[in-house]
Each structure stands twice: as structure tokens, then as C-alpha cells.
Amino acid sequence: MEKIEITLNINDKPCEVRVFPNDTLLEVLRDELDLTGSKESCGEGVCGSCTVHMDEKPVRACLTLAMEATGTRIKTVEGLANGDDLSDLQQSFIDHGAVQCGFCTPGMLMSADALLNENPKPDEKTVRMALAGNICRCTGYAKIVEAVGHAGNPQDHCPDCKTKE
């Protein structure tokens, strides 16, 4: 098998990489481009740790071939912040204690970000369903669900929402 040169658009930057036709997007992100924020936990599309956006839709990078990603816009967890400025969602995860070991966090953020782009004020049930493809073993999800629901949407009753100055 021979490597093929392709160009991927990742976090709004063109990236030229040489890949095998059977390389997954996750392998290319992690091994070729050193974007190790996307994690491999199950390797079979169950856990959601490798979730990235392909044209704004969340996809499993472990089940997506790198070749399939050509001609699309890929966004990874490294592309959520604007430089050092965190997105509302990232900040909300920190403020609400939604991060414990942090291994599922990148995938969780990407699923949640895709939800909020479509529905900025989702109710709790919608959040739980949108995150149903992301497994977290530490938190019991309560703080994650809260962080997503309150992201950019601070609640007066919540002790962990930082009201905007």
C-alpha cells in the first residue's frame, strides 16, 4: 500500500499530509498532526472520545477515514478556543466542575458544541440525548449536563455560573 498526499482543512488551516488509504482521521490527527486532544478510548465508535466536527456535524474520528475528510471543514477540540480565549462552553465546563479525569472531555465538548450551534438554549433532556454517544466514567454526567445547559446562558440560581460583567 502506498501513501497518498491529501490536504485537510483542520481548524481553518490547510494541512498537507501523506496518508495510507486505510488511515483513520483520528490516526492522522494524533500521529501526523500532533493534535492529541482527540482521544482514543474504545476504537470502535462507542465512547465518543474522538468526536470532531466535519462540516459542523459531530463525527467519530476513529470510524472516519482521513481520505473521507478531504474537501470538508474539520474542527477539533484544539479549535474551540480563540487563542487563549476559551469559548463559553469551555469556560462553563471549568466553572461547573464538569471536568474530572478529562479524558472524555474533548469529545464531550465537541458533541455539546455541535448541539449549541443548532440550539443555543437546549433543555436538560435534549442535552442528555445529545451527549448519549459520549461515555464519561467519572462525573455521573450531572455537572456536564449543567455546564452545557448554562453555557452562554447563565442562570441566577446556579452558584457556579459566572454572570457576565
Binding site: T36, S41, G43, T76, Q90, G97, Q100, C101, T139
Partner: protein, 759 residues
Amino acid sequence: MSDYTIIGKRMPRVDSRAKVMGKAKFTADLKLPGMLVGKIKRSPYAHARILNIDTSKAEALPGVKAVVTGKDTEGVKWGVFAYTRDQQFIQIEKVRYIGDEVAGVAAVDKETALKALDLIEVTYEELPAVFDPMEAMASETDLIHEDFPNNINIHVNIDTGNVDENFAKAHYIREDTYVAPEESYFQAEPYAVVARFDHEDCLEVWMPNGGPHMKSKPLSNAFKIPLHKVKVRKIAIGGAFGGRSEICPVDYICALLAKKTKRPVRIQFTREENTIGTRQGHAMITTHKTGVDKKGRVLARETTCYMDGGAYSSTGPIATSVPFLSMEQAYRMESVRYNGYRIYTNKPIRGMIRTHGRGFACGLDTQLDMIADHLGIDPVEMRLRNSRQPGEYTSTKSYVDSCAMDETIHKAVEKSGFKKKWGKLPPYHGIGIGTNSVQTGFPMGIRGGSQSFIKFNEDGEATVMSGVVDNGQGNDNMLIQIAAEELGLLPEDIHLVSADTETTSSDPGSYSQVSTFVGGHAVKIAAQNCREKLFKVASKVLKVEPDKLAAKNRLIFIKDDPEKSIPIRKVVRISLLNFNSVNAEGGYWPRVDMKREWVKNPYGQMCEAFSFGTTIVEVKVDPDTGQVKVLEATAAQDVGYALNPLVLEGQFEGSIAMGGQGGMLTEYHEWKDGRCINPTMLDYKLPLACDMPPKINNIIVESVDPKGPYGAKEAGMSIAMSAAQGYSAAVSNAIGVYMDSFPLTPDKILAAIKKKNHK
């Protein structure tokens, strides 16, 4: 309210920023120059003699840099205790489970390494295998380990005396047996190791661990090199839950490959390997016989438990004891006899897990509910009549100082509306209560204490060094909160160097919920010693005695006249110009009974403090499908003192998920001839966001332990245990059948309903 500035506050964790940006590095994210890929050759047989291993074809494959087998090792066996050293890191004579390590390969890439594994030719002679602990115990031939007759790895016997006499006096006696199969940790991060030997022939190694010093000592033994030559490095860790405390054979194999190739090597487990090749929870068969007086107070109890230990000892003596210890801490018993047997089988190795002994604990609480039912007492009253009280001794003679067990029961009962709901809910709608207790530490000999160093930099910021590891529970933040509070600095002024065996002193690790109580305590003492030095210098400038000073917000000031102050940064500079050190150390050793030993002498002070927890759960069961819907869970724990309620709530909620939702409803392993048939996330059912109860009530109870740092004990573990009990009690209550086989999967629930309706 307390006077603390940083302690007790809802402080977001310091490690979260790197994690939400995808910048935190876990072991599999590491790349070192020249790094090779390592893979493990595992046994396809559950029990077999190794006749020959031929590695020549694998070694000849282009791209293969090294192959190692048992012949390359120093032959050192691993076991947590001297009397349990039964495991070679690479097997030479026999394999004892499907997945046992027989060889390791390092190659230029994954494909080459996998191809090389196939080229290693191992000739086996299959031996009879045994997968059931009761059958294993009956067997006198074909032992799994020759030195252990009847395949009994560990037998723990505890007897407080008067058990038979008290049974004779009892008003009512019940004897029931409860079973639960194996469960697994399913940490988000699959196990991984990176190892290299540096220019001074020191082994440098990264891996998820429950205590770096618990990894460095066995590695130093295995390589026969001094301890200072083993540098276990800090790295982000994707969960442990008790499963990453010990050395794992792959730690050694990875290092051996690095030694042989003189290059860095990385081994990354597949999800299946993480389930099979690390540790699992024990399957247990537990019989509780309980005798009570007319009021339901336990006069005598006899418990016998058979644990399926798998192929090797692991933490055997501890694992055989802990389910009993949790029970004897939570409940008073006038007399008790315990026989715990850990039995070898040809299955993967079993270790400690967060809800260790779920069937044991749920069985005990189910039986209490049955006795209460017989006596016409409600489950809450039954627990209050038997609950642990402060100032008492446990059955094995541990003094219990702080204890707010009753308060956790009362508060959980009130919040959940238990009294209003008990006995009044419609059919298939139930409520249940569970109570439990866990230790903060075990007697661990010379590794039982923790020591910390603090150095001030000339800009007035401080570096804190501690052996405590963060598996994801928030220990790094805990240490920083404590140091900042004591030094009068802000959390961002503290730089933490931790979980690194080169720079930090010995520490027991996150083993047995001990990080805050021991490791946090050591940092607190080191910081106080450091502050004392600064106060001595500041007192000369401010012209008052040091005891009149306090520190807060980067300032040292006079307590009665806070306007008079001096920046800490300035005090550091004055100290240095006047030849005064601004560094300090501190250590904490819990006063436990060093003569207490798991098998030989299971009596005496176990640890200095115990946490106590109550979980109440309300469920609805669908009688057509057997599906359980959890409406609400209420968790109340005596944590001693809440150092950070935000972090603590996260521990409670995670405990409900793992102990209750997963542990009691969906999680278990299935087997065929010793092969685990659901080792992956696709087949093993972990709780999802949409499965969890919509409401979890967290209730923090503070008994302020006299010995814990700020009075703190531990956070969340007695919720994980009591959640399992609360879930099982609620389901039993909903269907009107006391369940004895866990977890409570729909098939078992439907069978129970059917059987009941046929009566």
C-alpha cells in the same frame, strides 16, 4: 462559618483549563525521539504448560527491534505482600489465564509489531482449567499455583468470640446467600506505558498509576537497580477507580524492551486488553447469617464469602478483607465471625474496585430489610438501631473518632421524603436505603506516610512538592488549595510538582482514599512550617511577635491591625538577604497499629478516620420489560469537612453512576471457557447521560474529624458503596421481591416478578 480564604470554597479545578483545550497530555499522547511501538503476545489458553517459545522468525522480520520473553527477565516474582509473590511479569513455565503475558515485541510501527507477534511460535501443553471458585476449591490436583492447596490463595478469619452463644440468645435468625459476578473499571483512558533508559541508565517511565511510588519499588526490584534509578513521571491520568494501584506486567515489559533496544518504547492497550490485562472486580458468593434481638439489634453475625480471584494474588489479602471491614465500620455487631476465601481460577486477575464487594454489601442490607420486615420495623429505624456511633470500636478493634452516620441517614431521609413514601407508593414504584462506610488508609508500613517540600521563589511564589497522584478526582487542586490557604497566597501563585518519584518523597498514593487525609495533611504541615519561617522574618519588620501575624492575599499582616502588612514577596527577599532559608518540609504519618496484618493479625487500629454514607433511591420498574427507571437519588456523606464542595459533589454524582446505576443495573462480565465475551464498551453496558436519574441530591455532612486536615476525611467512596445498596433496595421494594443476585438486570427482575405472581 469558617475563617478560611480558599479552603471550603467552590473552587474550579486548576487542571481543567488544559483539559478543555485538549492540551493535557496523557501517556498515549507522548512522543519521544526514536520511539518504538511495543506489543504483547498473550496466552490463547486458560491453563497450559509452555513447552517452547521460538522467537527467531519474529526477530528476523525487518523493522522488529527486540523480542523479549521470560528468559530475558531476572526472574523476580510480583505480589503486594512477601507471602503473595506468585506472578512472573512474563510467564516462563505456565500460563494461567487467557491473556497471560508470554512475550513482548518492539518494532518501528504498529503493523510490524503485530506481524511479529504472529511470528512468535509458542508450543503449549494444555492443562485442565477451572473457572468456578467452588470447583477450584474442591480440586486437589492440577493446582493453578503449586504452593496453594485447593487453589485457596487467601483465607481471612476474623472471630470476636461469643458468636455461637449470641446466636443462641437471638430472637430471630436469618441465613441468606447473595451472588454477584465480575465487573470492570472501564477507565476512560485505556492503559498505556512509555519507557526509556536515560543517559545515566535511569529508567524513566510514564503510565496511569494510583501512586507513583507504588510503581517505582517493584520496578527497582524487577530490574535489580536502586530506587533512585527509577523515575516514574507525572502524566495526566484518565481514571483509576482502584485498578491502577499495582505494578502491571506491561510496565516491566515496556521498560525491558526499552532497555534491550536502547530506545523509548510505547505500549498502548486496546480496550479489550484494558479489560483483560489489567485488573477486574472479584465475583463473590456471600452468605450472611444474622441473629437479632426483639428490637432488631444485631447480636451475632456469621459471614462467609468466596471470592473468584482469578489467576494471581494481586491485592489478595486486602481484597478479601475490605468488604467485611466496610460492613463492620458501618454497623455495630455484638459478635461476628468472618471467613473470607480468595480462590484462584483460570480467569483474569482481580483487584480492588470502587464498589468492592457489591453483592456482599447489598446482601447484608437486603437481609437487614428482610429482618426489619419480619419485626415490623421500617428500614430507616432498622439502620438507626444498628448504625455506628462516634467513640466506639469496630469489631476488629479500630477506634472510630468522628462519625455522623446517623446524620447522613436523617438528612437523606428528610430530603428524599422517604418516610412519606415508604409503603405508600403504587405497584412497581419503590424506594430504598443503603448505608456504608470506608476507610481512609490501611497500615502500609514504611509507605504509609507522606512528606512534602515547599520552596519559595524570589518573586514570592511557591513550588510545592508532593508524592500525591491525581487520577482525575482532583487531588492536584486539593494540594494547591491547602498550600495557598496556609501560605497566604493565591492558588495561581502555587506551582505543583507531584506524582514524580525523582523529586518527591514516598507517599501511599491514592490507595484507600488516603490522599487528602495523609498527602494533603503533609502539604498542610509543610506549608505551616514554611509560614512560620516567613512570620519570624516579618515579625521583625512589623515589630510584633510572630504569633500575632496572619497571611492572606499575598500579604503578611497583624491580626489585630490588618492595615499593617508586608507583601510575602518582600519577606522572601528580606529572608534571603539575611541568610534565612525560605523552604520547608512537613510530613504526616497516620497513627495506625503497625502490628495489624491482613491474615495473621486482623485486629487493631486500621486507619485514623472513616467516612460514612447513606444513599436513598426511588425507582419505577416496568413489569413488562423489567427495565428500571431511576427517578431520584439522594446521597449524603459524612466527609469530615468539605475542602471544595464543587469537587465533592462531582465525586458523589460519579459514585451514584458507577456504584448504583452501572454497578446495580447493567455492569457484569460474561464468560465462555475462561474467555471474557464482553470486554469492550460495545458489549459491556456503562451508564450514559440519558440513563442517569434526572435528579441527584447531594448532601454534605461535616463531622470535622479531629485528625483530618481541616477535619476532612474522604469524598465519595461511601456513596459509591451505599449507592449500590440503595439501588438494590429500591428495586426490591418496587417489585416486592428481595433480590439475591446482582446486578438487577431486566431478565432477573422479570423472573422474580413472574415467580412472585405464580405463588
